[in-house]
Assembly symmetry: C2
Homo-oligomer: 367 residues x 2
């Protein structure tokens, strides 16, 4: 049984440092053993202290989603970023990227159109050539990214605009569903392989091939990619648990919550307890294949059937006594990246004792 | 057509002040004409400037969800709160409530169990009697709240503990679904009526009867309630639009976003554009009855079919030209309360010009 230290006001995000460190070490070992580099996605945690743990475990740099996230981590000494996003770089974005380059930060950005290449070159001028451009390939997720066959046209436009096309990347986001991780990892390799072969045939030097999400990172082979970009693995969450990509022992982040309302199911009302952790701390991500809006640690057979902003409705197994009013439980959020983005600080524990508070320094840096 | 002022980096929450002021005035008039008081729920906006507009339009005080929200608005001069939540008041919460009382703030809190009454009395001592207790009645939403028939037992426990039972409240949250507002408003009146009659018969003076959400506030009659607590009405959102509780002209809050990726649908891939506004600014609330993850202003026939943290996937009507890369669009979020809780500041406009920036001062105050 997990215990919640005294002195915690709920709802509160709790991070178990030992589990976190173990998750970081395991990913480094698994991926390193295949000869691949790890460039963890820092949008998951947004915490400089966690980035430092990842870098000292051998990460080659960070992946981020926005220029703003790169700026925050650069202030904390990180000097190598891949902004894995098809940025539209206007004059103001160009100024910010130039400022990072002049602070000796190595940068790569995503791109999926000739127009974005021309815009970047026009806004940044000659310094644009110092940034690695990685073309985004659609490997089946159908979000941003171009078909593997369309890579050469974008690469040629980028090169003509004076940009440095250094490689390609993909996000196999369709791996976040039951039975999908293996299939998505295969599609990822196939899409990157096709795009890479066409680019090489067209005379491009494809130095960087970047793939991998938490569900696929351990499955991605060294035959194609040079680096993987897992994010969620540091904490685990209810989605990864239900995808069987982690176990309850791998969960490093939970939300401490208090039972504020308790109903035995009299008067024709449903039997339930209400926790003071709602969508404003757990996030409301709830893919159809999940069992609910998160899970309860040490009571995985309970179901979070509804979530409003400050209430979680939890249905307890019929044969089990409901927790008492005022009792504290730990909730495993469905999607940790969203939960971390809702708080300014988190509590860090080891062996059930509070050892630190960390600032979520890059929280809300959406641009 | 709405225009987006120059100088806005996306994604950014934009508030149209004139629409906001009109929404506030309309609710004040509609509800005031029925002789009811408006106590707007400030969890929606979390902005002191908006609270000031509501209070000058005649609101009797604010509803909030947490002690922390009350603390922030009290710092900005608001002195009358109903914390519409079944608080579990331990010693630390008691200290915070006492601090508010000593600053001459009038407080009411929600309650739905004898245990919470005893806990509050024990933690606060005699000052607990200065706080109005409103019993939470379940009118069909089945979240927190007791059956109308169970009110007297809780009221008696509260009175025995020295608390001041001032009334009852309910949240007809099941009104947030198509065809439900009228039915939910009827159930709300019926539940409050039953509970109130039983309490009066047991000798309680039911001074305050509080109900109403944005979908039901205009439907709630004066026969039962004394005040309503709408929140979302200040901004409107895609849910209210799809419930036909507001029109596009009533939408005061949008998220300015840029087209970062554009796909005509070649190579067997879906035709779509990708915006740089994802769940980290729009929120991921997506009830099954909605058409998607929000709507596009001036292009209501487009569909936001998927949302990830920094991407919205938007499917355009087949016969309509896709917007260009770099073009800026306004997104109407599904649930404004969630969107506001994701940013620290918002841009305020009037007649398409930036006139102010407001701090979302109570953002993240979850406890």
């Amino acid at each position: 049984m997990h215990t919640i230290p005294e002195g915690i006001d709920t709802p509160e995000i709790m991070i178990d440092r030992d589990v976190l460190v173990r998750n970081i070490a395991r990913m480094a070992t698994t991926v390193g053993a295949k000869g691949l580099e790890v460039r963890p996605h820092a949008k998951t945690h947004k915490v400089p202290e966690i980035a430092a743990l990842q870098l000292s475990a051998g990460a080659v740099g960070l992946t981020v989603a926005t220029i703003g996230e790169a700026e925050v981590f650069a202030e904390h000494g990180v000097d190598d970023f891949f902004i894995a996003y098809p940025l539209w770089i206007g004059p103001r974005e160009a100024d910010r990227l130039r400022r990072l380059l002049r602070a000796n930060v190595r940068l790569a950005v995503g791109m999926d159109s000739p127009e974005a290449a021309q815009m970047m070159a026009q806004s940044m001028g000659p310094e644009a050539g110092q940034i690695h451009v990685l073309l985004e390939i659609d490997s089946g997720h159908h979000r941003s990214g171009i078909a593997p066959e369309a890579g050469v046209a974008v690469a040629e436009a980028a090169a003509a605009a004076g940009l440095h096309v250094a490689g390609i990347f993909t996000f196999p986001g369709h791996s976040y569903a039951p039975g999908m991780p293996i299939k998505a990892a295969e599609q990822e390799e196939s899409a990157l392989g096709t795009a890479s072969n066409l680019l090489v045939a067209a005379g491009f030097n494809v130095e960087r091939l970047s793939g991998g999400s938490t569900p696929t990172a351990a499955l991605t082979g060294p035959s194609i990619v040079t680096e993987v970009r897992p994010g969620v693995y540091v904490f685990g969450d209810a989605q990864q648990l239900e995808l069987e990509r982690c176990t309850p022992e791998d969960i490093a982040l939970t939300v401490a919550a208090t039972v504020v309302s308790r109903h035995e199911g009299t008067h024709g009302m449903p039997r339930r307890v209400i926790l003071d952790a709602g969508s404003k701390i757990l996030g409301s991500d709830r893919p159809a294949w999940t069992t609910g809006f998160g899970r309860i640690m040490d009571r995985l057979d309970a179901r979070i059937t509804a979530l409003s902003e400050h209430h979680a409705t939890v249905v307890w197994p019929p044969e089990v006594t409901l927790p008492a009013l005022g009792e504290r439980l730990l909730v495993i959020p469905n999607h940790v990246c969203i939960a971390m983005n809702l708080v300014d600080e988190v509590t860090v524990t080891a062996d059930g004792t509070i050892i630190d508070r960390w600032r979520v320094a890059a929280r809300g840096h959406n641009k």
